[in-house]
């Protein structure tokens, strides 16, 4: 029998405004405890502004075996924006 708690995926944000980045998973009995566990595993040494946790089983995912989902069979290069120079990335 699996005696471990269920897993939560952990998303870590280094500073406000940055994206939350997936850093791993923790075992926990509920979302509140998952946040505490995530703090101990991922925010103790890394600088951290915010953490999200999501129950692993609530994440909808694609199937690696499914070859058609991402298939690109025909030439679509005409869709790529190659004909002009992109301006410098502005501050935003």
């Amino acid at each position: 029998m699996d005696t471990q708690w269920e897993t939560y995926e952990v998303f870590h944000q280094t500073k406000r405004g940055d994206p939350h980045v997936h850093v791993g998973a923790v075992h926990a009995p509920d979302p509140h405890m998952a946040l505490q566990m995530a703090r101990d595993q991922f925010a103790r040494r890394m600088k951290c502004a915010s953490i999200w946790v999501v129950r692993t089983k609530d994440v909808a995912r694609t199937d690696y075996q499914d070859e058609t989902f991402f298939a690109q069979i025909l030439d679509k290069s005409y869709r790529d924006p190659k004909a002009f120079e992109a301006p410098d990335k502005g501050e935003h």
Binding site: Q4, W5, H27, A28, P29, D30, Q36, M37, R39, D40
Partner: protein, 266 residues
């Protein structure tokens, strides 16, 4: 650097208070570290190792102030002192037991520390006040962690309830020993260093009694006309240095590496 002590504060009693604070942290920190590699859940393994390091860090802060008052160095206090000269309460020194006992002890201790640190952060002795203000930041998280576990395990399953209740029955009288009066305490209270252990115990009861009761756990305590009566014998003696054999074992473990190569550094 030696610190000046205001003339109305009795230095000897002040040092006794500092060493008692430090010893509680050092010894409980060591007990917490015994879960490293043995916790029932991987994440709790890391959480308790983390808490252990925090507690030992707090011991270092208290020992450092004691040194600045003319006491021995923190390393000497931790690694060379005879176990019979430790003044931790027995509560912090008992073997780690099962995970229920560990969680209950940590919770009762964390609340005790919370009320103590809040009180010390109004101390008339500035170094004590400043250290308390720093430590209270980290202790808030410890308390959140142990409280979350107590709330959940208290009535999660029949087995968890049984173990948690057994842990309370053992730990509660021991925990009362945290508030054993220190020799010279009256003078410290008079000088505004802290409010004394008796009022701290009352504040502690005001928090732990309702919290544990709402987690379906029973305590040998009754409240009548706003006053608590406790039907349990406090486990005292630690503050006077009347230590028990299990502390001897703990201190031997703690000092093993240091004593293999005294004065060594890495």
């Amino acid at each position: 650097m030696l610190l000046e002590v205001p003339t109305d504060i009795p230095k000897e009693a002040l040092q006794r208070l500092l060493v008692a604070l430090a010893d509680d942290e050092l010894v409980l920190g060591h007990r917490d570290s015994e879960w490293t590699g043995h916790s029932p859940i991987l994440e709790e393994d890391i959480a308790f190792s983390n808490i252990a390091q925090d507690e030992i860090g707090h011991a270092l802060l208290w020992f450092t102030i004691n040194e600045q008052l003319g006491g021995k160095s923190p390393d000497w206090m931790g690694f060379e002192r005879n176990w019979k000269h430790f003044t931790c309460c027995h509560f912090t020194a008992f073997p780690k037991g099962d995970f229920a006992y560990t969680v209950v002890r940590q919770y009762l201790f964390d609340v005790g520390e919370q009320v103590r640190l809040k009180n010390l952060s109004t101390s008339s002795f500035p170094p004590l006040k400043e250290a308390a203000e720093k430590i209270i930041m980290e202790e808030g998280y410890h308390l959140m962690h142990s409280q979350s576990l107590v709330e959940r395990l208290g009535d999660a399953t029949e087995e968890s309830h049984k173990r948690m209740q057994a842990a309370i029955d053992t730990a509660f009288p021991q925990a009362l020993g945290m508030f054993e009066e220190l020799t010279g305490e009256d003078e410290l209270v008079k000088a505004g260093v802290f409010s004394g252990n008796e009022p701290l115990k009352e504040q502690w009861l005001e928090i732990v009694v309702p919290a544990l009761t709402s987690a379906s756990l029973e305590l040998p305590v009754e409240k009548k006309n706003g006053k608590f009566t406790i039907d349990a014998k406090a486990e005292e003696g630690g503050r006077k240095g009347w230590q028990k054999e299990h502390l001897k074992q703990l201190v031997e473990d703690l000092q093993t590496v240091y004593k293999m190569s005294p004065g060594g550094s890495w």
